[in-house]
């Protein structure tokens, strides 16, 4: 029924559903690459070019972004490697399944951004020098940086903006790097691993052995992925009509999952950097009351999937105390990389390392038809053999597809 003076709701919904896309030449945000190339022409820095093969994807305001497929230098995440190692292992496992060339460097520090956002106990030149040291190491090794952490990704992009726009900070950073015998190198694109997963999603789906079509998922887009230097995040007119970032959701849809929307999708997870370590009353409250419980009440998903270190930790680990208070919680939380690895048949414990996750993941495994008890027994045998000094866990053991189609 149409009421005079009001637009029928169906018309509004139809218009909202129309995909939004912009050609790159109409993108209103500046193109940082042009400024980098100008600085390179003046001899101020080296721009590390994206190696071929790469895929070009659309970003928020239309600029095309190059995502390298291989020859990547994996800038690991301290939170992933320290507390969710199956996250890191899954990213590498995916590369290995496709036979892609990559390197896992030990000549790498974290971005140190977590501490900077938590405590302010650093300064801009130190942050630029840490970034410059890591990027120079990648350049000198001949591999292109692929950033595992959402905060490292966002932080480096912000630092890159500041480096480009402030000649004095740039000069100070260059002087520090000269003391290390390193050039000032900035990559042509700063690339998050979830962007690599996004462009690989159809290849991942081609190799899918675990049917995920009976799953309903909620996606938490990581703040430091899409809220810092916003114009650089991947948007796709075919996903959410181009109205929010396409990473993670694109993968889950390609794997056949039902991705369900919930009202607080834009909210952060409650991580808070310092809060999650020493003031978790805030972190727990926000993670439960604004994220997990909202998902449960509105959707009751089988899984929450996200693409950053802090989000997986916060959303997963905050649920125990909430359960004690009889809140409506109990959603397993995994990263997109872990979901992709499971879909392709990765071992749930040797690769995905589910035992590092706190919220009960067993119902999820059972719904997927994965006999987790069998894999857990295998893993326990691995542990016993390691204890006896008979073996170590290597890729030779972890590489094979464990789950049959």
């Amino acid at each position: 029924m149409t009421v005079a003076g009001f637009i029928p709701i169906d018309n509004i919904m139809e218009k909202k559903a129309r995909p939004v896309s912009r050609p790159p030449d109409q993108a209103h945000a500046h193109d940082i690459r042009e400024e980098l190339f100008e600085l390179e022409a003046k001899g101020e820095l080296i721009v590390h070019r994206v190696p071929e093969p790469y895929v070009e994807v659309e970003t928020k305001f239309g600029r095309k972004k190059k995502i390298p497929i291989e020859h990547t230098w994996h800038h690991k995440s301290c939170g992933q490697c320290g507390h969710i190692p199956g996250y890191t292992a899954s990213i590498f496992w995916l590369h290995r399944q496709f036979g892609l060339d990559y390197t896992d460097p030990s000549d790498q520090t974290s971005c140190t951004g977590w501490n900077y956002y938590a405590s302010g106990t650093s300064n801009s030149v130190a942050q630029m020098a840490v970034m410059g040291r890591n990027f120079a190491a990648a350049y000198q090794e001949g591999y292109y940086p692929l950033i595992h952490c959402g905060t490292s990704f966002g932080h480096y992009k912000e630092v890159r903006e500041q480096l480009v726009h402030h000649a004095d900070l740039r000069a100070q950073t260059r002087r520090v790097l000269e003391k290390l015998g390193k050039p000032l190198v900035v990559p042509e694109e700063i690339v998050h691993y979830s962007e690599w997963v996004h462009v690989m999603r159809h290849r991942i789906a081609e190799r899918q052995v675990v049917d995920m079509s009976n799953l309903t998922a909620c996606v938490h887009p990581a703040c430091h992925y899409h809220k810092i230097v916003v114009e650089d995040a991947i948007y796709d007119p075919e996903i959410y009509g181009g109205q929010r970032t396409a990473t993670v959701t694109g993968l889950l849809q390609a794997l056949g999952m039902n991705v369900a929307d919930y009202s607080t999708w834009f909210d952060c997870c409650g991580f808070g950097f310092r809060h999650v370590l020493v003031q978790r009353d805030f972190t727990r409250s926000f993670a439960v009351l604004r994220k997990i419980e909202v998902m449960k009440n509105e959707i009751d998903p089988d899984i929450t999937v996200t693409h950053d270190t802090g989000c997986v930790t916060t959303l997963d680990k905050s649920q125990f105390a909430a359960k004690a208070h009889e809140r409506n919680v109990g959603v397993p939380v995994l990263s997109d990389a872990q979901v992709a690895a499971l879909a392709m048949g990765a071992h749930p414990f040797r690769v995905v390392q589910l035992h590092w996750h706190s919220t009960d993941w067993r119902p999820l495994m059972e719904k997927l038809g994965i006999d987790w008890e069998r894999y857990w027994e295998e893993f326990q045998e691995d542990l016993e053999a390691i204890k006896r000094g008979e073996t170590i866990m290597t890729w030779d053991k972890a590489d094979p597809v464990a789950i049959a189609a």
Binding site: K76, C78, G79, Q80, G82, T88, A89, W93, S106, D107, Q108, T109, S110, T112, W114, N115, Y116, S119, G120, S122, N123, S124, V125, A126, A129, V130, E161, H166, D168, Q172, V176, L180, C223, K227, F266, C268, G270, F271, G272, R274, L277, V278, R280, F286, R290, K317, F320, F349, R350, H355, W356, S358, F379, D382, L383, K387, M393, W395, K397, A398
Partner: protein, 232 residues
Amino acid sequence: MLQWTLGKATGSYPDVPYEEKERLFLEVKEDPRYEDFLYGCYECGICVSACPSARFYDYSPRVIAQAMAREDVDRFYEILVEDIWNCAQCFSCVRCPRQNNPGGLVTLIREVAVRNGIQETRDVLQGYTRVIYKVMLKGNQVSPDMLQPDFFPDWGPWVQSFRGNMNIWRQAIPVDTLRGVTDAAWETDENTLRELYTIWFETGNIDIIEEVDEGLYELLVDVMEEELEEWE
């Protein structure tokens, strides 16, 4: 917990001369990034609507932008002493239609608070210094051995289970740089860490730590200087 012992809860802030507050304010303004982060304020509240901390604390990114834009030095000092530590640094506030970055302003104010050794800042960071120790020496913020039941009781029995299995679980990771490493997130080359220590010294970052915790500063300097001497 400290939040409730500070100004807003007690209604009192340290008696600091206006000139000192103004000096600190100007130190924030002098940061080359300041003008990138503040253009004014429409007072629309869009930043507040997106802010997680505004839901749980007496905190507002709009107040930060307004106080800075109006150069309200007294309110700025309250922000420096207390408000900045409520910010979650998620940068949801950069939805600002005036293109402000209140979260970025918080970062700058935190730096000034730390650099000047503000007592309330030292208090807030007291329980956090083990993370500073880790990041300065290991180049990682967190490591498996930091997951201790005493520090993470709210994570439930998983933490107990983890502590009992940490060493063997770390052995059972196929990633070469992670396998068996418990005191850092991954195995980092000695020279890489020495380069990191050089960065801390050359950029004055180590001096910042002295303002937060003298004991920690002395410990870090001892370890890093010894490493750098060996390197030379």
